[in-house]
């Protein structure tokens, strides 16, 4: 029986989504709980990795469990009873046997949160990036517009992937929302390269604060400019939803 999970976690408490030798990843916590309940090792397949410190409101995953192990509606409370409170299965339902959390996904929505005020509110520590300086709203908007669409994002991708992969992606929408000093940038796209969202945010903020020009962003998108090394902090990023 295949189960589909919607998983939320506080990224500060884990070393990211993907299973690690030291076992402090979200996937490890879930697999330990399923192993206990299933009586055998099972793999929890996530829709994608998130880095250490990155949060999730709606990570998605699937897992195959023995049919008759538990009543259908007992899985959610049973799993939640065996994982730390920093990660929760928010929803759980039976999925079609061909549903795959990663391969069936047609896109993802990430939200990046910024506090653009002089003093960082204590309740937002590890939840937002504190950017105290003045930001030009027009430059921020035009940077986000430049990123939208189909581009080769090679300049906005952290090195470290072993094999050279295609780096062209479609960002279908970037939405800016501002309420006083609280700024949120939502990214929707079919898929994102390693650290791409945080690199786009860092460049957009550098543009809006006058540190780089809009032309530099354009050049990087045309792969005629240098790769960026600036990555916005992990705590500002949240995987909101996986689209199927």
């Amino acid at each position: 029986m295949r189960l589909r999970l919607t998983v939320a976690y506080d990224g500060t408490q884990f070393s990211g989504w993907q299973s690690q030798a030291h076992g402090r990843a979200v996937q490890d916590a879930l697999e330990s709980a399923f192993r206990l309940l299933c009586g055998e090792r099972v793999v929890v397949h996530g829709a994608g990795r998130t880095d250490s410190g990155v949060h999730a409101e709606g990570q998605s995953a699937h897992v195959d469990v023995p049919d008759d192990r538990l009543p259908d509606d007992a899985w959610l409370p049973a799993i939640n009873a065996h994982i730390p409170p920093g990660v929760r299965v928010m929803r759980l339902k039976k999925a079609a046997p061909d549903f795959h959390a990663r391969f069936s996904a047609r896109g993802k929505i990430y939200r990046y949160s910024i506090w653009n005020g002089p003093v960082m509110p204590p309740l937002l520590i590890n939840r937002v990036w504190h950017v105290p300086g003045k930001l030009d709203a027009g430059l921020l908007r035009s940077a986000c517009e430049a990123f939208t669409g189909r581009h080769d994002f090679a300049a906005f991708c952290a090195r470290g992937s072993k094999a050279p992969e295609p780096t062209t992606r479609t960002v279908s929408a970037i939405r800016l929302a501002r309420k006083g000093p609280a700024l949120a940038i939502a990214f929707e796209g079919e898929g994102f390269l390693y650290k791409m969202v945080r690199m786009l945010v860092a460049s957009a903020i550098r543009c809006a604060s006058g540190r780089i020009s809009h032309d530099e962003i354009r050049l990087r998108l045309e792969n005629a400019g240098p790769r960026t090394n600036h990555v916005a902090p992990a705590g500002g990023l949240c995987l909101v939803r996986v689209l199927y």
Copy 2:
């Protein structure tokens, strides 16, 4: 020179606002920093106490400092550099010599946050009260309406105050806001008794979940019913603003 401060803090990191022998109160953190900067002991007067675990976005306080110690605009960054990140002075300005954070206040706004869904989101731990069961919106509204206005709130006040104090207060407005499972109840009033907001919330939720009747709430407001012992958890409460 009298300074007026707007202070925010993460209540989980402190034993409340008021100075304690063990020194883990918000007031202690501020007074240590001012002592260092002023070269003498100064008292930081808050608009009111908050309990251990209760948060603040806009606690208010005043303090008298030597006139020529620092340039006016250096006080805010200097104080913030000497207190833990769990508490921040969000705003600081010169105040009139007769301004008093407590006695000049004409009211306060508190917000109580509830997560009314089956599973508690990890990022809201210590920030909301998790109430998983069904709540009747009409009963919740009518309980809040009953609390609004001038009443003797003796039945909604924690014992422990030494001297018998007057227990009549005016709650000028209670506003309910719901967005999916996220429920916020804002209380505005001239002043609140010890644990009063959390006791009103606990009773309103018990009424909305069918555990007590609306009549029981009315009887308690008329001081003809028993005192309530139910207190909603501290982490759901936030002092939003002090009104002057």
